[in-house]
Assembly symmetry: C2
Homo-oligomer: 169 residues x 2
């Protein structure tokens, strides 16, 4: 079965759109549990706004390139399963595991956009490539923020947990 | 409920041990499907050997610090669920999604070891800290390799897929 590269691009754009929808759900769920981690809470709030815009950008790409395609792959469900595996972690009150999952999810997004950029380039779709490059920069910035704060979050959690406090209380 | 930081460290070491066990299963499953991606296959083979040693190092840390602990958290299952969500992706024949999942999994490992290093430092466990720093360097090297080859893997997949070829055939 030969597959046109453009059909792979469309399938991966759909995966990315589903991934960002999942991201919004997970980030919102995490946001509610972070009363005592104000910097993390603020950064997640900012990233929720970014993610909503990213979802719209992906939808616009799909509207432009993907209208009539019918040879889509079944990979979207696999990424969503991966994301749902992580959403159980987000539902936890434990800020360390939540940050670990956020950092992991950001890198799933980073890899996805790098693949999309390579695919858009391969099929000569400059608009999709540029859109994904802009989104990629936001994902890298979020991943870097989490990376820069992971040690602090861990130490803060350990000392709060030693005092019997949760992220909310 | 107050929790001794050392108990969190032990729980996270157990999580990491379970994570590396899962990694060996997933990497082996991916290895079998990469006949036509020899560089990726060789790098994954190398990382399987590294991962087996990492698992032994973690077991030695646990034997040393975790013998009598009984106040472990229930977080291990969550990480394992996350990893299992990814293992469905690895089982797929599609090398792009497999590389995406590998890259993502490596960053889950990177975050886990950074958390472990911060925790080991917080409780003054220099041996665990040093062991996790050595493992972290291997995980970063694997993530960097995947990052450096992701564009090539994507292009190669697109052109093989256009010719109707899979990773194995």
């Amino acid at each position: 079965m030969a597959t046109d590269p453009r059909d792979n691009l469309v399938a991966w754009l759909r995966d990315a759109h589903a991934m960002e929808e999942q991201a919004i759900t997970m980030l919102n769920s995490q946001l509610k549990r972070l009363e005592h981690y104000p910097a993390l809470k603020a950064r997640i709030g900012q990233h929720i706004d970014e993610t909503k815009r990213q979802e719209q950008v992906l939808q616009a790409c799909l509207d432009r390139v993907g209208g009539g395609s019918s040879s889509l792959k079944d990979a979207a469900g696999k990424l969503t399963a991966m994301a749902q595996g992580m959403s159980g972690v987000f539902a936890s009150d434990e800020v360390v595991k939540g940050s670990l999952a956020s950092y992991t999810f950001e890198h799933m997004e980073i890899a996805s956009y790098r693949i999309l950029i390579a695919a858009a380039e391969a099929v000569g779709d400059a608009q999709t490539k540029a859109a994904c490059e802009r989104i990629l920069a936001e994902e890298i910035a979020m991943a870097d923020w989490l990376s820069d704060h992971m040690d602090d979050i861990t130490r803060q959690f350990l000392s709060r947990d030693e005092a019997g406090l949760t992220a909310k209380r």
